[in-house]
Amino acid sequence: MAADAKKEAEEDGGEFADFMADISKEIALRVESLDPSAKGKPEQKKEATPSPDAGVILEWENVADRMIEEMR
């Protein structure tokens, strides 16, 4: 049964489909991590003011700006 299913998948271009699935995954990982335009995309900007309860500073640029402002 399993052998028949495999054969059928192969006849339907199953080998190529598997290959495509793997390659698609690989490319998705690559282009997302390398896209030079990603940094400037407004939708990827984090919240301007970090929540005081969060315990983690997410927006370092913003924190630096505030520190400079306070020192003036």
């Binding site: 271009g13 290959f19 793997d22 390659i23 490319i27 690559r30 282009v31």
Partner: protein, 201 residues
């Protein structure tokens, strides 16, 4: 160099199947071609002699469609294995991103395998490519032949694979190992996509 062009949203990679004459390079491409769905079947260009041996080279453009917003193309080439087509082999290697070395597992072909592998390294060096860093996988083909006629995988690996790159047993004529090999080299080539293409490329 493999190209990822963020301007035109394109990825193009060139993979060359290298190896001695009659080792099964064209057979690899023919199997890939046979598995393509109809809508993706472009033209496989194959120039063969009367005796079915590659005269110039085979070329199979693999248009994978749009992946993550990028039009993705793999270009698969073979080189003619016969010794006297050295110039063609050099030409086909220009701009290569990854190489599949297709070795003939038959014991009596071991010397031809070694010579072809040395020829590959010499031609890569001539092209200014570093054979130590270029993505490479080995394919030990014709594993379907009787055991008494073929070298063991260990023998082939010890003789040819001094870089310890990934290797695959194959019987390309029945499709065995063909896509495993292609998947491996494709993954290695994509792994080297580390920077946007320069302007105008």
């Amino acid at each position: 160099m493999s190209i990822v062009n963020y301007g035109t949203r394109e990825i193009t990679c060139k993979i060359v199947y290298y190896g001695p004459g009659r080792s099964g390079k064209t057979t690899n491409l023919q199997h890939v071609y046979s598995q393509l769905p109809e809508e993706r079947k472009g033209k496989m260009v194959s120039l063969a002699t009367d005796t079915d041996r590659t005269l110039f080279f085979d070329f199979l453009p693999l248009d994978l469609g749009t992946i993550s917003g990028f039009a993705t193309r793999f270009q698969l080439y073979t080189v003619p294995g016969q010794v006297y087509y050295a110039a063609t082999r050099k030409l086909v290697l220009q701009g290569v991103d990854g190489v599949v070395f297709v070795a003939d597992s038959q014991s009596r072909q071991l010397t031809e395998n070694v010579e072809s592998f040395q020829d590959l390294h010499a031609n890569l060096a001539d092209e200014g490519l570093d054979p130590r860093t270029l993505p490479l996988v080995m394919q030990y083909n014709k594993r379907d032949l009787p055991t008494r006629e073929i070298s063991t995988i260990e023998e082939l690996d010890e003789t040819l694979n001094f870089r310890s790159v990934p290797f695959f047993a194959a019987n390309a004529i029945n499709g065995g190992g063909v896509f495993e090999t292609l998947r491996s080299i494709a993954s290695m080539v994509l792994g080297r996509l580390s920077a946007p293409a320069p302007k105008g490329s």
